[in-house]
Symmetry: C2
Subunit: 452 residues, 2 copies
């Protein structure tokens, strides 16, 4: 039992309260076969938006009631379409919708705002209103309790309603358990439009990555192993990659996922070549590349050595750059609707004491993703990043207890995330239907208080 599970158990038994410990809400997580939505969803709009209809249809298709106005019933979710909100009066109308609704949101419930892109707003007031949703949703995230989350989808004017479909599936379901207080931008999908999975085919709903080949670096243990297992659960064929020294863990991941293993030092000069040749020859290509491998070599900058700096930058950033360039080159094995997901970190956003090398590498990943996004789009592919906060792994398990407990608690969900939470976010970005998500950085941090 992890420390976090222990705290959750103590909370649930009431012992935590007696000890004066704050209670840790149990987060609902996705289990195959569970319905996507756990109860009725309030769907409303303020201003002249275009998403309330499609969202209501989505909720009904998933077997749940659509509520137009908050009453006495508990709600699984609240979705407010504010893409048409242009005035302070529209914003006030949103508050009037939200105030009675947030009271009714149940445990692990979902508040999802859909807003317009401030940079596309028809005037300063509309831009202010669109940006106001950012402060609003982050405040709601900090107010919700019992594992409920609040997130904002910012949708470009050119994006059709279907572009948000995969994001509705993610943010309204238990798959997004540890993604909270986030703002994600949806644009016109790249490449050929992808049909969403038919909801009357339960296999499609449970296996959204069926038929897709996914390579995961650093797959021998920790987050990488969880990513491989989660993507396999969702139907992907796994190519698990790690250094030869981690061969045992790597074989375990390959076995568990029914996939194959490739021992490779991704910092070697010929690594990108070897990886892509392997994917071409053994698998006939690749659909999803997850750059998860990463290392830390913490030291204050005043005491930093070239070796610690260089090794962290080489693994965490240099290898990703080389492989991504190769994926864009002529003859690349990357299939249509290819997806690249890079693992960044909260440290790359907020910085961290003792981690100048790590933070620089993880901020670098963000710069890389944004720079590559239009180039992948030209090929009908996307590249995005996830930025984990405090995730319960072997690594964080070795932290001093004070640092660990603080790390776990300084977020809106009052607990660390699990590796599967990062994996679920990667799975969402990895879906063929997620072509509207490109160049994004999604934090998986339970709305950590730490930021830039």
């Amino acid at each position: 039992m992890s420390g976090n599970d222990l705290l959750a158990t103590l909370s649930n038994t009431g012992i935590a309260k007696q000890l004066g410990l704050p209670t840790v809400p149990a987060l609902r997580r996705h289990r195959p076969g569970d319905p996507l939505l756990a109860g009725p969803v309030l769907v409303a709009s303020a201003g002249d938006g275009r998403f309330a209809g499609p969202v209501a249809a989505f909720v009904r298709e998933h077997g749940q009631q659509v509520i137009a106005e908050a009453g006495e019933e508990k709600l699984h979710g609240v979705v407010v379409d504010l893409t048409g909100a242009r005035t302070l009066a529209d914003l006030a109308a949103a508050q009037q919708i939200l105030t009675p609704a947030v009271k009714r949101v149940g445990p692990s419930g979902r508040v999802l705002l859909i807003g317009a892109e401030p940079a596309e707003a028809p005037g300063a007031e509309a831009a202010a209103v669109a940006q106001a949703l950012d402060g609003l949703v982050r405040s709601i995230g900090k107010e919700l309790r019992f594992g409920a989350t609040a997130n904002l989808l910012v949708v470009a004017a050119g994006a059709p309603p279907a572009a948000v479909d995969s994001s509705l599936r993610f943010f309204l379901s238990a798959r997004s358990a540890y993604v909270d207080g986030q703002v994600v931008r949806v644009s016109e999908p790249v490449g050929t439009p992808q049909e969403p999975a038919e909801v009357d085919d339960p296999r499609a709903e449970e296996r959204p990555l069926a038929g897709r080949i996914a390579v995961v670096t650093g797959a021998a243990r920790g987050i990488g192993a969880a990513v491989a297992e989660t993507l396999a659960r969702d139907g992907a064929s796994i190519v698990a990659v790690d250094v030869p020294a981690a061969g045992e863990g790597l074989a375990r991941t390959a076995n568990r996922t029914g996939g194959t293993a490739l021992q490779l030092d991704i910092t070697a000069a010929d690594a990108a070549d070897r990886l892509l040749t392997h994917l071409t020859e053994r698998h006939g290509g690749v659909d999803l590349v997850v750059h998860n491998a990463g290392i830390t070599r913490d030291k204050l900058l005043a005491n930093m050595t070239a070796d610690r700096w260089d090794s962290v930058l080489a693994v965490n950033l240099g290898a990703q750059l080389a492989i991504n360039e190769a994926l864009l080159a002529a003859g690349s094995p990357l299939h249509d609707a290819g997806r690249v997901v890079c693992v960044s970190s909260q440290s790359g956003i907020a910085g961290n004491r003792g981690q100048t090398n790590y933070a620089a590498s993880k901020a670098g990943v963000i710069g890389m993703v944004r720079a590559f996004a239009p180039r992948f789009a030209e090929r009908g592919a996307t590249i995005n990043a996830v930025a984990p906060g405090f995730i319960e792994t072997e690594m964080t398990g070795k932290m001093p207890i004070g640092t660990r407990e603080a790390g776990r608690r300084v977020n809106s969900l009052k607990q660390g995330g699990l590796p599967v939470d990062v994996a679920e976010a990667i799975g969402w970005l990895g879906r063929a239907e997620s072509g509207g998500l490109n160049g994004q950085v999604v934090r998986v941090c339970g709305q950590s208080m730490l930021g830039a």
Copy 2:
């Protein structure tokens, strides 16, 4: 004596250590007549940048020695030009420069990185390196001690070296005491190029706002009063604005600054008209408009009333929108090189529990500033925002002691800021030479750990 001063005193006398309290570094702040730079400055570059020469000249013009390589001497500052850094090797070179240098940075010292705009980078590696500086500088800020700060200027390719001049004056001097861990973008200056003040004229150096008319809303007390006093100290003629009910404080501010007072409810339908007519008729125009007036009406969203929502949005956002639109209209009294500075808040970036209304309004200010920036630029003017973190005011003085102490301590400088710190940032953005700063949001928060 404020609680913060008390802690600083306790620290300095060694009593804090005996009591087990963490020490609070005393921050050097600007006093008229003090030299801009308090000691030698290390100036270096990694990659083929264009700022090392001009920065070295700037340091020498201000009477200080330029150091090329860290030795045994204490440094006032470290400036590393990374605008030409394009490769991981360049980034490693930056680490090799910084590691010995940060050890030598003295109390209230300054680390300033100058980087290129990631979006303008010639490739993914260069974009990654440019963004890596963001994670690097925020980590350095979290490692520095004794009131030293680290900030990053991101300079657009089109900006000439002189465009960073006013930002060097700010970030290398004591005026930026409480601005830490920030990333500020400098672009090609708007309007007619403004000559920087001649450094051999001490009056010009001390009175950079001489001859400029500045209107400050919410000027009766707190941050607004400090803004008026600081701008007056720097040579501006003050028009102090506040509601009639605050008339006494307003008169005090006007007297202290040798300025004039205007009693005005900025949320009145004719407020923008009345203000601009007043500025035209009594002062012949205006150079600097500081939108400081703001209110809080905290309540959880679940218990929010329309009145609390509407009043906060009206004062904090609606009034700014109306006045700014009027400033852009034909016949506006805004002079050439006009400057608008809007007060946002950390809550508008990170959100805050109990402040959905306030956070929405302050995020809205950010959206408004970005939307207005190109329109003000067309007139040769700029609009920017400052976002204060925990500032010691009458308002924060009334917080429960636990909240207050926590608020003071969760930042890299381990203390709350002073109203003058916000005022100094506004003065910097308000200078005629700051035309390269437009649409920016600068936090004045001591590198608060709280963010998005």
